[in-house]
Symmetry: D3
Subunit: 289 residues, 6 copies
Amino acid sequence: MRFDEAYSGNVFIGSHPNYEESSVVIYGMPMDWTVSYRPGSRFGPARIREVSIGLEEYSPYLDRELKEIRYFDAGDIPLPFGNAERSLKIIEEYIDQLLADGKSPLGMGGEHLVSWPVIKSVYKRYPNLAVIHMDAHTDLRTDYEGEPLSHATPIRKVAELIGPENVFSFGIRSGMKEEFQWAKENGMYIAKFEVLEPLKEILPRLKGRPVYVTIDIDVLDPAHAPGTGTVDCGGITSKELLASILEISRSEVQVVGADLVEVAPVYDHSEQTANTASKLIREMLLGWF
Amino acid sequence: MRFDEAYSGNVFIGSHPNYEESSVVIYGMPMDWTVSYRPGSRFGPARIREVSIGLEEYSPYLDRELKEIRYFDAGDIPLPFGNAERSLKIIEEYIDQLLADGKSPLGMGGEHLVSWPVIKSVYKRYPNLAVIHMDAHTDLRTDYEGEPLSHATPIRKVAELIGPENVFSFGIRSGMKEEFQWAKENGMYIAKFEVLEPLKEILPRLKGRPVYVTIDIDVLDPAHAPGTGTVDCGGITSKELLASILEISRSEVQVVGADLVEVAPVYDHSEQTANTASKLIREMLLGWF
Amino acid sequence: MRFDEAYSGNVFIGSHPNYEESSVVIYGMPMDWTVSYRPGSRFGPARIREVSIGLEEYSPYLDRELKEIRYFDAGDIPLPFGNAERSLKIIEEYIDQLLADGKSPLGMGGEHLVSWPVIKSVYKRYPNLAVIHMDAHTDLRTDYEGEPLSHATPIRKVAELIGPENVFSFGIRSGMKEEFQWAKENGMYIAKFEVLEPLKEILPRLKGRPVYVTIDIDVLDPAHAPGTGTVDCGGITSKELLASILEISRSEVQVVGADLVEVAPVYDHSEQTANTASKLIREMLLGWF
Amino acid sequence: MRFDEAYSGNVFIGSHPNYEESSVVIYGMPMDWTVSYRPGSRFGPARIREVSIGLEEYSPYLDRELKEIRYFDAGDIPLPFGNAERSLKIIEEYIDQLLADGKSPLGMGGEHLVSWPVIKSVYKRYPNLAVIHMDAHTDLRTDYEGEPLSHATPIRKVAELIGPENVFSFGIRSGMKEEFQWAKENGMYIAKFEVLEPLKEILPRLKGRPVYVTIDIDVLDPAHAPGTGTVDCGGITSKELLASILEISRSEVQVVGADLVEVAPVYDHSEQTANTASKLIREMLLGWF
Amino acid sequence: MRFDEAYSGNVFIGSHPNYEESSVVIYGMPMDWTVSYRPGSRFGPARIREVSIGLEEYSPYLDRELKEIRYFDAGDIPLPFGNAERSLKIIEEYIDQLLADGKSPLGMGGEHLVSWPVIKSVYKRYPNLAVIHMDAHTDLRTDYEGEPLSHATPIRKVAELIGPENVFSFGIRSGMKEEFQWAKENGMYIAKFEVLEPLKEILPRLKGRPVYVTIDIDVLDPAHAPGTGTVDCGGITSKELLASILEISRSEVQVVGADLVEVAPVYDHSEQTANTASKLIREMLLGWF
Amino acid sequence: MRFDEAYSGNVFIGSHPNYEESSVVIYGMPMDWTVSYRPGSRFGPARIREVSIGLEEYSPYLDRELKEIRYFDAGDIPLPFGNAERSLKIIEEYIDQLLADGKSPLGMGGEHLVSWPVIKSVYKRYPNLAVIHMDAHTDLRTDYEGEPLSHATPIRKVAELIGPENVFSFGIRSGMKEEFQWAKENGMYIAKFEVLEPLKEILPRLKGRPVYVTIDIDVLDPAHAPGTGTVDCGGITSKELLASILEISRSEVQVVGADLVEVAPVYDHSEQTANTASKLIREMLLGWF
């Protein structure tokens, strides 16, 4: 991990050339080896950066420009193919250092399991942490066919670490019966199907608290995000997701870290999903940090 | 490792291995030879089965699991390529036998003309039958360029058989002027553009009646179902279609058969439409039978 | 320019064979050389015509058929590749002649810059002209990296010609801060994000005035129009755009010309965007002329 | 059938506007309803015409230009969807008239069954006819699952009509054992796998005879023609097919008709196959007529 | 219509329903988690089976039909996502049992690493084993960025197990300098770029020996196999690969097992690669067992 | 133009971080605005760099590694969209400076017109320059529909500048009759259809001379390079092109500059063409400089 040198690949538009002078750090976590269905999200961060060149630097939603904040795109974290355990360890250490340096982490996946070591690291600094989770899936399994390190388990791990009452899921439309039951029995909040309206109810309850926000791009309907591993109909529109990001911006929570995961370019035939992800990253940057 | 049993191959997820013990039978009708525009729906049933492996067996919409009902996936009905007349005859006899065996039919198309022999067969058992039809198109032509066996004619045939007052179309946004006029003059119900709200009005009127539901996937907007023969904008979302299926589940009609037609994989670049169809089939299974 | 002979290529469905007897003229402007991102809209008009064959000639929205009006498809205007200045001059002269012959122009792009010479020509005939502009982008730049003839500038040129107070933009969700400021300071109307509701407010104010309507297909969300140069999430649905076209039909403005631009077939994997454009052209024809 | 008026759609590049003054007539046969695998060739002729606009009018192979011959593109023959029998009858009558008018027929498919009525018609005029057949498949079945009108049967029908000893197949790499046996036992020539070398041997034997040439685009390897119904590896290159066409040009046979079939645009992702077909049609036009 | 038997679903065409009575067993190894570039080959076996339905059962290359041999398609081996070590162990035990039952193994990948446990198992039975390896890549690394279980290492492991002098690689066109050097220094045979001619030289030297043949589909040029993880130009044609399979059939080696790996459907836009793989499997079945 | 700072985007694999210490400079020329058919090559250089990450750094063709030479990837030259004249001027000045700094230029297109200013600049330094041109097209027009700055004219301009007897074209299979005639009458060498064999004849004649090599990727058959603007069948294989590059390496000409143009990612569905281009760039780097 060397943040003192320029990343040799593509960078997100408007990225500052200097790590030290930046307050937010963007990084990719190109891992997709535990997914049970369609792999490919390892190439998500690179494509999001590539298409960011077509993005306006001004947000008419927030009336703010990218030049108003300083962020550094540190590139993709090098991860060992096919070795989930080592990959997660590397990510955790990476975030530990970012936080030690006083940076806010903004990650791009990769599969959803990458959020687990990030939140673990963030929780060490913020014991009062709450997690806002937008997703089509509960991700509350203890294991997937015997394997505890699986893309289907990160939110369960998080809930067990920080307490289920501190995890708030939105837009959920798929999962096993047992997952929904576990959430209910353990006081974890799940808003089925919808994001914006339930978020408006929950945000005031989190006032003043440090919050980590993890967004699985498949919270969007496949019409709005075909380029992802699991295309599950009945999701929300990109307009609703933009409004939800804005809602968080306007709230009184303190976002201390965030990620956007599961963009898989190979299924994204007109680059619609990558472009959407790149706009969402802009809004997250401008609204939350 | 058990080599002593047949490979379970390509069947809809959760399908029961035994026909006799099942109450619902799923079957494919791989016919697309009378379509006037883009063919390809013959491969719809196979692809819907293939992607069903990615489906959760639990529905958070209905709070019900696939294991709670017994259904048998009988595979595709073998149909003679390019011979519409013989194909329809084969389908009708197939359904006759299903019904004689006390099974509920749940079909996958194929082009919409396949619904015609199914409904004919169902009507023989249920003379009080009503038909709920969700589609972008009226399908009320008497013929298509002189040909009475066409994908543009099935609802007309149905209406003439069971009486236009027993046919209820929803979501219609395309058709000839004469088709809309014929419906109006003959007392057939057509809800233009919308499905959910008009359905809520109609369902109470059908209370207690046997109902056959036929869904053309193109009732969805192309954003939600690009993988179909005719992509006609201005349709409903998958969220609205899921809600409509749920509405029927909650109503007091008796669903005695159903189908989902016109999924054409070759235009379905991220397999979004096949995945949507597979989830719709799950909801139909869980909610209606 | 010879309107006295039949166009040898594809024509829009239902096109009248004779120029003289037609009141509306459809034409393509196959130019895409000033775009800064993804080119390809030069093939838009040809593909829209090609798929129009799958279109019903009757509109259930307007209860009107194509045979009720006379329009002539004049084919694509031949434009010199890579020479923006000459191309715009050719388009302006073309429209001058159309108007001199008493025809209403209905153009298909091509990049958005093609609207500029058309509106210039129309303004010569209608000094009281107002312009309704539906788009994801402001298009209000004075230049693009030093180049005043750019796809990012047409609305600015129009506003400076006919007065910013006569330009009404709808659905805008991207632009530079300076563009929004210029509009505000100069009294130009911009409805951010939405089209239908603000349109309902504005139309009564334009009562009786001659109006030119220019629609960039990217006013639609990428879910509804992936086949365009810039895919920018957060847009409206095709249902909303159809309703907006209908709203103009019902209003008391006098549409004296219109265009639909930026359809780029190469990114349009299931031909969804071309089919949508072809239906929109039908509604514009039936509702506005 | 009206040859006295201009075709309103796309035409093949360089097509003469007048039927009477032309010696060759190009026409499409948009039928694909008897195929057993992937349909879609109904759109082949339209796409071949569309991309022909990118074609040079000069052939460096033959040192000849399109303007040196007169051909008329009559458009697609209107055929009834899903009705094979009527379609074949319409095609036969169409060719009867072409020949009666002294025109040389050059057809574009569509599935291979369309060649059958064409050759039947040509044979009535040329009882000494020989047929050169380039294909991946024998097409020698008597029926396909009981159906005698199938894409798998045309060469068998031809062989039974004009005598198996007058049919010469090249490039064959797939078929049933019985088909190869029937050919062998009945004196029909089959060159397995290769085209050019065996053609060089056969052509001198056909010296002076009237010959009909039917080319299934799948004689090419899928690398060279992915856009077809059946992709069967082990085929020849486009270079070899061009050389084979040239070889016939240089021979002393008299080509009295020809076709190119089975181009299916929906599987042709970079339009490679359509472009290849369009160049092949140019070479056939320039070299054979 | 027989509802009393299981639906035959997705098995390789012509597969025997009974394991005990079969001499060859086909199985899939759906693993792709150690690949360093494009994942997706986990879906290869399923797609190869699906398209095999379009295959003729007769080979004109070998003049033999599938019904002449008995093979059982055992489906895909269930493997734990993302856990390479356990996956390889499961595969090895699977093959151990197959061999104990006297069956010949014919595997479909999945990534190339799956060949390693298979060959390990086969070697236990045949200590005199030679391996024929056709591939674009050497696959001779000791590890990939520190990971010894990688898609880049299987042939190295094999060579170290059975002796480098017993491994014969063909068609190699990519690798590290060190890999080529290791082969050279250790007496392992590598034919660069070509397959057929060097194979003709080597086969007589292997006369009478038990041979395992492993084919990475990327030995084909990307023109012939775009649907694979690594597209590396300069490869052989499918015609040459078919001829090479035939050459082995005609030789006096005893094929005791074989596999075909690295077919990745998501990059295979016209299903060309899957169809090719399915034909290759047919030829391997008919020619080698 | 600032070569003294690191390029902020993707770089070609193995690129040296320092301009001063490098002897070869790689640069992109992202221009496609004068093409008459399919645009998109502006994105070629970026995609070639992106996929170069999958490339081995060792060439088994040349037995040489990338680390043996020093090259600097300077990124894409910023060019004004739609302004051909200014773009060409910028490119020429850029190359002037490269040459003044003693660097060898290795360019990536973009459309073929970009080669014109490069060769103009190189010719100023090497008055004895010969040009080797591999292409499907003659590119010898004086203008394209009146426009002298067109993708169809660069070789004509070059031939007029350096003398037609110093230009050697290979693989040509398309062009106007007049272009071939002009070449013949003016002593310019054209090898029709083939590259390798004629190259072997010509290279000895160029012994000791400075040579610029320009390769249009469409000299490859579309089977080998679908991702380009014009797909023209009958081309050479990638194996032949690799052998041709090697032939030049082994010859006694002095390569003083080179380019590879016309890679258009949007038509390159499995990234086959970009991967091929990236391997060709490696071979050019290793073999020529």
